[in-house]
Symmetry: C2
Subunit: 390 residues, 2 copies
């Protein structure tokens, strides 16, 4: 009994010691907000003042009940979390809402709270003491859609100063429910390239993000995946709901890219207008879009990346028709998956095995311990970008 | 009686006709979201599915109760709203949260829902068929804070093509609880300049936004205005709570601007490095910062703008010391206010009267029908920018 009490006191002391001593506000918090806090063992404590609510929960992957204190403040400490970036929500009497203490990130078809769980000893997506490029928000008129569109263009360090240099271009797409902002706000793609270029691991390049889901001709409706759209509470592809219907997905954006975006980039920026200076990659449905666009236009692209990609089977079959020709034409075919998502759905692993069997040169990349999530895709980009334009 | 009944039927018929026929999803909604909807008479209908909630309200200036339908969907139609951009929130069982259907905007010290109420016949902040500049996200190292900082740089149309042109610079600051993003996401400053430049009403210029609140030396704490910080539920300066304590506000950012930001801009961009090519303006506490910085360094700035500014009285007194010298040195001193905020607190009007009396040349601008809010500041910028660099 005495021993149990002592242990209990020690445990409690340790617990409070950790809260007081080694937990830190998440880097994704609004400035000045103390919660959520990440502990050194990667447990996370959430808080919300809600004296009048009947039930408050937090959804971070799973749903956890919060407990109400005498002061009307609800709180819970979650077990250690996987490193990287995760969307999360609070659930107040059944309504899934953002945590007022968090920055928001457009993902899952809505603005979502997000939390960065720090990865010890890893700084390839941090703001380091290296030269930094710019991320430019650029408007261009699309003849295909008849509307002004926005894209983001990363220009590498020294772009403005080195007036004679011309650069290859990586076109990079987000997944369903995300947009052209995601690769920078969630993906930290600019920092990944800054750090790779500073270490001379990647060639200086332009990187363009766009939003394939907003590429709509007059009368075309935006793609809403059944059970996965805004308000569905789903976590995007990989979440619940009936199987998706991709319909005509990809066709209009391919036209926009070839007719509007690439010509704009190559006339506005000092881009090298050659197929061996063009790469395209995307995550999830952005990977599907990448296959649809590049495999139909191999005369325009020499580098292809699918990061946890959706697989448009009919288009992918074309790869196998003439392996020797494909190997000669495509300088890098890269496919990646997180091991956690691989264990749930090994379709990328199966593609790797089929490509291997058919003698198609490619890179198969696995991100250890991660699911269908941004750390998988940061790692994909960090492995893919150094292989480009060699 | 008969007449009253007839009027009532007509009014109701009109009302329902409008709901069905002429309401539109707000332009600030997440793509694909039908609610909130703005009616042609500027009433606004909000909806939220919350079957388990006891009470749901919407706060848009005032707080309005929503009514629960049999399907668990709560809704309310608000009376006609003032045109322009407004922050708003849903209140679910007492917790003020963002509407999952809305884009979010960093303001009031948190990510907030926002709704754009369209202004008929006004397109100076719309995406028009004109040449568009770029908005560049740029990192720079601050010797004053010892940290990397971010700012945004608007480069006017043709900046990259006209390699020999050099440009004057407008430094533009946000208010309390906002940051360097606000002037673009809420203020549409890039579109205002695109349109003014296309109409040859404003000279092509660079425009730089930064975040004075994050300029902290090691050990300095961020400014949290009592009763107005994150979670206070206030609407920023002008809201409730005890009087603010501005303390040492402004001093560190002035150092950052003079030591780090301006030298970076003038060495990285093709800026004209002269006082008559430098303007500084800001809204609310950004206006206060502008007075603190420019009035202490009139050798560095020739154009000064305070948009609903906070007034640092001691610093402003210096203007009156030598009106003739001030009139000679300062090319434009601009102060603006919304008539609704003026009626609540006429401090800017009083400043105008005092300047007038002292013979200080200045522009006094009133935004009709608006409060301490973004439409006031869009109008300020639209009036101020054409006066610059003449």
């Amino acid at each position: 009994m005495k021993k149990a009490l002592l242990l209990s006191i020690l445990a409690c002391g340790l617990c409070w010691g950790q809260v007081a001593d080694d937990s830190q506000p998440a880097s994704t918090n609004i400035v000045g907000q103390e919660y959520p806090r990440v502990h050194s063992d990667l447990r996370v404590t959430f808080r919300l003042s809600a004296p009048d609510a009947q039930k408050v929960q937090v959804r971070l992957g799973k749903v956890y009940d919060m407990e109400k204190g005498a002061d009307g403040v609800w709180s819970v400490t979650l077990p250690p979390q996987v490193v990287g970036f995760h969307y999360y929500y609070l659930i107040v009497d059944g309504v899934q809402v953002d945590d007022p203490a968090s920055e928001t990130f457009y993902g899952v078809g809505r603005e979502s709270s997000g939390i960065e769980i720090p990865e010890q000893g890893v700084d390839y997506y941090s703001v380091n003491d290296v030269p930094h490029g710019e991320v430019r928000s650029t408007r261009y008129f699309s003849k295909i859609t008849g509307q002004w569109r926005r894209c983001f263009v990363y220009t590498p360090p020294g772009y403005d100063a080195n007036r004679k240099a011309r650069y290859p271009v990586l076109y990079l797409l987000p997944g369903y429910g995300e947009d052209d902002r995601g690769w920078f706000t969630q993906g930290r793609a600019d920092l990944i390239l800054d750090n790779l270029i500073a270490a001379k691991k990647a060639k200086p390049m332009l990187m363009v993000t766009d939003n394939q889901f907003s590429a709509l001709k007059p009368g075309e409706q935006p793609l809403i995946l059944r059970g996965r759209g805004p308000g569905s509470g789903g976590r995007g592809p990989g979440g619940g709901g009936p199987p998706p219907n991709f319909g005509n997905y990809g066709a209009t954006f391919t036209e926009v890219m070839l007719t509007d975006l690439i010509p704009m980039i190559e006339s506005t920026y000092r881009a090298i207008p050659r197929r061996d200076a063009r790469a395209m990659a995307g995550l999830s449905m952005g990977g599907m879009q990448t296959f649809l666009t590049t495999l139909a236009h191999l005369d325009k692209f020499a580098y292809i990346g699918g990061f946890s990609p959706g697989l448009p089977q009919a288009k992918i079959e074309e790869i196998y028709k003439d392996p020797a020709a494909f190997n000669k034409q495509v300088k890098v075919l890269f496919i990646g998956t997180g091991t956690v998502e691989r264990d749930a759905n090994p379709n990328i692993l199966r593609l790797h095995e089929a490509l291997e069997k058919a003698g198609i040169k490619h890179v198969y990349f696995e991100s250890p311990g991660t699911a269908h999530e941004w750390l998988t895709w940061r790692r994909d980009l960090n492995d893919f970008a150094p292989r480009l334009f060699r």
